[in-house]
Symmetry: C2
Subunit: 454 residues, 2 copies
Amino acid sequence: MNIKEKIFLDEEEIPKEWYNIQADMPSLPEPPLNPMTKEPAKPEDFAPIFPMEIVRQEMTTERWIPIPEEVRDVYRLWRPTPLYRAKRLEERLKTPARIYYKWEGVSPPGSHKPNTAVAQAYYNMKAGVERLATETGAGQWGSALSFGAMLFGLKATVYMVGASYDQKPYRRIMMETWDGEVYRSPSKNTEYGRKVLAEDPNTSGSLGMAISEAVEDAATHDNVNYAIGSVLNHVVLHQTVVGLEAKKAFEMIDEYPDFICGNVGGGSNFSGATFPFVADKLTGKRPDLKILACEPMSCPTLTKGLYLYDYGDTAGMAPILMMYTLGHTFIPPPIHAGGLRYHGDSPLLCKLVKDGYIDAAAYHQTEVFKAAKLFAETEGHIIAPESAHEVKAVIDEALRCKEEGKEEVIFFNNSGHGHFDLGAYDVFLQGKLVDYEYPVELVKQALENLPKIE
Amino acid sequence: MNIKEKIFLDEEEIPKEWYNIQADMPSLPEPPLNPMTKEPAKPEDFAPIFPMEIVRQEMTTERWIPIPEEVRDVYRLWRPTPLYRAKRLEERLKTPARIYYKWEGVSPPGSHKPNTAVAQAYYNMKAGVERLATETGAGQWGSALSFGAMLFGLKATVYMVGASYDQKPYRRIMMETWDGEVYRSPSKNTEYGRKVLAEDPNTSGSLGMAISEAVEDAATHDNVNYAIGSVLNHVVLHQTVVGLEAKKAFEMIDEYPDFICGNVGGGSNFSGATFPFVADKLTGKRPDLKILACEPMSCPTLTKGLYLYDYGDTAGMAPILMMYTLGHTFIPPPIHAGGLRYHGDSPLLCKLVKDGYIDAAAYHQTEVFKAAKLFAETEGHIIAPESAHEVKAVIDEALRCKEEGKEEVIFFNNSGHGHFDLGAYDVFLQGKLVDYEYPVELVKQALENLPKIE
């Protein structure tokens, strides 16, 4: 009898509701603050850049939020995604552990990002918005938003971090194929961008800068809103389709994970895939579930950051969030996992780390690419460097199971393919990949720029 | 009630046998000839470059060939592939036709090519072969063979057409990630390559040249065999998993196509996807089934070529095949669908065209990319320029159905994604794509170099 390698749900089993972990958290994070008044943000503070339904979802503590039929209908283009059993990886590691992964690389943009892009585009379309502005690091989010906006008849303007814009022309062209308008950030299209360029015409940009440009574009134009790919509550909410599908698939095969992990940039991949499982830990159903957040050593927000109020963006225009942060002016070393180069993290995720429900670990990129190579050799898929962080954690856990002779069930969300990251694979294969030590001095400097809260 | 957009078979329904159309053809093509003696090729003529089981499969007329369990086990990494209903494309075209496509872009190398790469690697491994040599045009086949060889512990050496090697570094890196060794062809690694380089050091190569290099590499080394990505009977045979799965999926939803089509480079995509349906036409079960082979206007083998004996490769080392050909020395204009730039076609496919069972049509690349853009806008997936040829045919057929008010069922195999073809999309989006007229003079010249057969 062959082990089944892929578990597929029926299309009808695409979740009908998103899961909001706030309903089950013993204590909630401190509220976001208005960056001008430094008072707790009110719904109307978000109104210049978000439609009201998104603002409602950002603030609600209801457990289940219905997914509009029009959004589910777009999800059908690639969802439900398969749950894979990584049989060949297990065999190579000679581990008694059973390794499962959800494969989000089958979506047209190639990652989990469209799960929220499509939802955000839908609510903006319903609100009469004509254009969405956003930032993108590695390009996954900008691709997803261009794709989502196009499907609901909206225009998308994407501020792409300069370094990625130069290194990843294919990501730019992908966005343009889906009618996205892409600017190299910092750009001359915004006041903030012009200011940064005046100070340093050769800057390669950062995610924080690009966020500032997109927020400014949205705030200063009528019928233009902002869309964000991670960090905020509504984004995390939309991503729970991943974890909810995974839970259903595990039920079908009568398994439940002992260990789950995910890579963390702003937290949407991690949270979307794990929160439906974290719920079982919070409610006491699975008190022993081990949960690990994986991040890069050069941007170790959860493992080295401070838990306090900081701006979500570099310019200080975005809401002030209670989170682990390395300082909003911190610009991480240029690792290849561009999607993980963010100074903060989702406040919900941070609070759960702070309260001890979730552990965190940081990895160097060389060991991460080694894991990616092993994954390609066994499971075939060439995955994004972001996703490879969790593969590294999974391999470590599987080898621990081998040493201890434990038949654990391991689960992770394989968040995207690495087809546009092959330049980084090339550097790795040539033995030229550089590891960066934790940039402690840069972080210290950045932490001096925190907002002053009374 | 929602229309189901994806039909998935269970993993157990991965076919257990490949289908050999020769069992159902009213008359078979003339046999291949030994390029030296120009006599019908004997099994031993193939022995220097193929393992005996492949040779047997090349020559047999048995209807069903069992698929080894080890090969099915690798297929499980991505098979069965989904059968999609292209609902959004239908809606955009306002056609009463129902459009279905098989999506082979989910395989790790990104196309249908691993269906045969894995099988060939397996039989070579069983025969004790240590290394496989092959050519690649756009890079799809070389990726697939690197992938397949790796999974069975073989080395792979890939001669990559110079133009693609320069334009598509990501394809090269993909092969290297799967441990493939890649040479820019023509290379200094073979006598033939050195000869060509001596005559023209700046040549950008051709598929025919690269085949010659790979065949020489295999023929002149012990424990090294040759693997081919298209044209020959055994390759076409292995690809029938695509059509067999599609037929099963159609049975599940109680549909059967009225019109099927596929793009043709060497014929393996087309034949693999359609032959299980063509069988029904040959045996009289579906006499009215319309079958269209789609090719580029700049390499119009089936629509403008001559049906006669010609070499499979440029150097005249490969078997002489009875097929439609533009002449083995013909080098097509540099269109972006690199996988379709081959002077000949599968003898089985050619014979079925010759005997009137299959029609053919040729398209310019601008109209092909327009079709690809429309597909990306509606179905989301950014597809290979090769696959876009059939999408162009499908759109034409769907619009004809609209004009005539006919509810036809249309099927095509979407053979691969276009993630490494975004450079070509960029040229198209900028309005800079060039169409090439049918190079009639070049073909005339090439047809003067046909082998002399008594």
